[in-house]
């Protein structure tokens, strides 16, 4: 096994080899998840802490479930994002956690780059980015890749099919950490990514982004897509002034039944959640077999187990017998 990075701050920390490693190890943990007692002793004696400065249910619970299934001890620091303003310094909080002898900190923060700052302040513990501002959400992209690979046949065969896979990412890319991680992750595996959004919801510059195209017309992109990945319109990040109304956005970019009918039968529909039915995705589409939305959630635990195991586990996994 190649040296797995000490911190996971962005998809670029992994590269194609690291991504492949995570997906392979996740296979073992999907199998563990199907057991009556879905727990292995791999991280017994290790302690991980979740430190969430933003409300999140699914990501925090997914990480905590992953850590517990690996027999790690889990500490959950639920911090309101206002704590910093009240005078509590992020640096002091993190240094206190490190002094407790914790092995890894899983951090979500509304500020882009906060996990990078934290990684610069700690000496030994590993930092895992569970979503920072508009920057990245690497484990979300990894579980998307896992879901796609599974649907494409799994294993090395599924992996090979990423090359020249047509991936269409639709929605508020400007404010989306998920999109930044997805673009890097799909591109690392050789997929061709097209971004679809009104110009106001694209980043101000896409110079240097490893994408194939940008489009403002979803109808043009759907027929050739192998994967359609929908993003939530981030109204809490002020998207309201970027489009005239949700209704107009839905009309132009929502994946409704008419548009779903333009897709190839084998095209996958992904959504990182939380999904807003009736805005970026119509209910009748969200419930189609092509929509792998709940699959994404269950794979999330296995992928996060893989990340934690690779970062904190003492020895490399030797097939499922070791776990």
């Amino acid at each position: 096994m190649n040296q797995f990075p000490h911190h996971l701050l962005s998809i670029d920390d992994l590269g194609p080899d690291g991504i492949g490693e995570v997906l392979r190890v996740a296979d073992s943990f999907v199998e563990v998840g199907h057991r009556a007692n879905p727990k292995v002793p791999a991280l017994r004696g290790r302690t991980v802490a979740t430190l969430f400065f933003e409300d999140s249910t699914r990501t925090r619970v997914s990480f905590e479930t992953a850590a517990k299934r690996l027999s790690a001890d889990v500490l959950s620091f639920a911090v309101g994002s206002s704590s910093v303003k009240k005078g509590e310094s992020l640096r002091d909080t993190v240094e206190t956690i490190e002094a407790m002898g914790i092995d890894a900190i899983i951090i979500r923060h509304p500020s882009s780059g906060a996990p990078t700052r934290v990684a610069g302040w700690v000496t030994n513990l590993s930092v895992i980015n569970a979503g920072d501002g508009w920057h990245e959400h690497p484990t979300q992209a990894l579980l998307d890749l896992y879901t796609v690979r599974q649907a494409l046949g799994g294993g090395d065969e599924g992996m090979d099919r990423f090359k020249s896979l047509q991936v269409v990412i639709v929605g508020d890319i400007r404010h989306s950490r998920v999109a930044r991680s997805q673009v890097a992750a799909y591109a690392a595996l050789g997929a061709e990514v097209t971004l679809v959004a009104p110009p106001t919801l694209l980043p101000p510059s896409i110079d240097g982004w490893p994408i194939a195209a940008v489009s403002h017309d979803i109808d043009n992109e759907l027929p050739s897509a192998d994967v359609v990945s929908l993003l939530r319109l981030q109204s809490e990040r002020g998207s309201g002034e970027f489009v005239p109304s949700l209704r107009e956005y839905t009309t132009r970019f929502g994946l409704n039944g008419r548009r779903a009918a333009m897709l190839k039968p084998e095209t996958l529909i992904l959504h990182p959640g939380p999904m807003v039915r009736g805005v970026e995705i119509a209910s009748e589409v969200a419930d189609l077999p092509a929509a792998h939305i709940t699959g994404q959630v269950s794979n999330g635990v296995a992928v996060r187990m893989a990340v934690l195991f690779l970062m904190l586990g003492q020895s490399p996994v030797q097939g499922s017998s070791n776990v």
């Binding site: 910093v84 310094s89 906060a114 920057h135 980043p203 982004w209």
Partner: protein
């Protein structure tokens, strides 16, 4: 304001090249009672005089900073007038313009008097810039005439631009009647939003909200139009973009009464510095891409830009130990500006000193033509505000050894060329051989 110093010894600065607005010559300089007594080659050392060696050095009028945040009153944890002017002296400055965004802001006679009083024992002249609007809130004019009566020559809401074009027009008209200059922090709030760095490829990749170059350009264009209509003087603070520099170039060609300054970080650093999310590189206006850096340098070279100003903005460490978007903008500048100009700019030293001393002195109204004692020329009878520079010496920036109370220099570890050897403020040698004397 210029009171020659008490019982300072007679000084002789020996063996240097004197450079001022009148030219360059080999000369010793004798200083007594706060004034220059004699300037000439091979002068006799007066009895009991302190000798300051200037061998292989340049003797210049003291530098004048148009733009320093001394933080007192209100943020003494970051800087005080004492520590800020000590840093200024070490950087070769004998005068700094203190920005009014203190707490309380410098928008009233009492607030200005307080700073003047606090600065009485400082090691450099502190010229107060007054606020244009009450509380720098951009709503109504501050009592500019009351402040002008206390010696305030420059008014600015720096930290924010005056957003209302109508109010800015009134301010320019009113200031003309006082002989004062308005200095604008050019940032259109509706375009800048809550941007924390330059909007572009790096901000897009890093996911940091961007502040477009357009936010600066739009206000520069607006204020040039206002200057044309009102005929009032306007000074543009810390310009950072190619279009802004070009607008000023055209305005000057049209004969409008505009001046402009740039900050050293805008000709020496780019927005790529934000890649590690370290807010020591967060500043407003933000660091820009290389094309803007090149335009700033071109503006300095062709005379479009009149001054290099530090925008010295100390922040206590706990305010920079934050995620990028939560940290306040600002970098230290007083001790590195001259060296950065020498290191980064391909300009003769005479031009660099014009940009750092006599040109800003004139903009601030501190030069002899405004009955001030800053910016030279170095001639008998003039107030002795001088600095002695070794233009070839190199040194490495160590945040811990800077005189500022804060440590937020973006140049930690950088080796720079050009060093201040001595600084003389009103006859007192406040820096000798690179050491602050008090």
């Amino acid at each position: 304001m210029s009171e020659p110093n008490r019982s300072d010894p007679t000084l002789i600065i020996r063996g240097g090249i004197v450079i001022d607005a009148t030219g360059e010559r080999r000369a010793d300089v004798v200083v007594a009672n706060g004034r220059i007594q004699e300037v000439g080659d091979g002068l006799v050392v007066p009895t009991g005089a302190t000798v300051l060696d200037a061998g292989r050095c340049v003797v210049s009028p003291g530098l004048v900073d148009l733009h320093a945040h001394l933080r007192e009153p209100g943020h003494e944890e970051a800087e005080t007038i004492e520590t800020g002017t000590r840093a200024a002296s070490l950087g070769g400055y004998t005068a700094v313009v203190a920005m009014p965004n203190t707490n309380p802001p410098l928008d009233s006679a009492d607030a200005v008097r307080n700073v003047v009083e606090l600065a009485r024992t400082a090691t450099a002249q502190v010229a107060v810039a007054g606020a244009i609007t009450v509380g720098r809130a951009g709503q109504r004019l501050a009592p500019m005439a009351e402040l002008a009566a206390l010696g305030v020559r420059l008014f600015t809401d720096d930290g924010a631009g005056v957003q209302s074009a109508g109010l800015m027009r009134r301010a320019l008209e009113y200031a003309r009647g006082l002989g004062a200059t308005l200095a604008q922090h050019c940032e259109d709030g509706s375009l800048a939003c809550d941007g924390a760095m330059h909007e572009g490829a790096w901000s897009s990749r890093l996911g940091i909200p961007g502040m477009p170059a357009l936010a600066e350009e739009v206000m520069v264009a607006r204020d040039i139009a206002l200057a044309r209509v009102t005929g009032s003087r306007i000074h543009f603070l810390h310009l950072s973009t190619a279009p802004s520099i070009e607008l000023v170039r055209q305005a000057k060609a049209a004969g409008l009464p505009v001046t402009a300054e740039v900050a050293p970080h805008h000709f020496s650093l780019t927005d790529a510095c934000a890649a590690g999310y370290d807010p020591v590189f967060k500043v407003n206006p933000p660091l820009r891409p290389q094309c803007d850096v090149d335009a700033v340098k071109a503006g300095l070279a062709d005379g479009t830009v009149d001054a290099i100003a530090t925008d010295h903005a100390p922040h206590a460490p706990e305010f920079k130990d934050l995620p990028f978007d939560l940290a306040p903008p600002g970098v230290l500048g007083l001790q590195t500006a001259l060296s950065l100009a020498i290191t980064e700019l391909d300009l003769p030293l005479t031009r660099i000193l014009a940009l750092l001393s006599w040109q800003p002195a004139a903009i601030a109204g501190l030069d002899p033509s405004n009955r001030g004692g800053q910016g030279g020329p170095i001639t008998p009878g003039a107030e002795s505000n001088l600095c002695v520079i070794d233009p070839t010496a190199t040194w490495t920036v160590d945040p811990m050894t800077l005189a500022s109370r804060s440590r937020n220099t973006p140049y930690a570890g950088r080796t720079l060329t050009g060093r201040v050897r001595h600084t003389v403020f009103r006859g007192e040698p406040v820096v000798i051989d690179g050491e602050a004397q008090r």
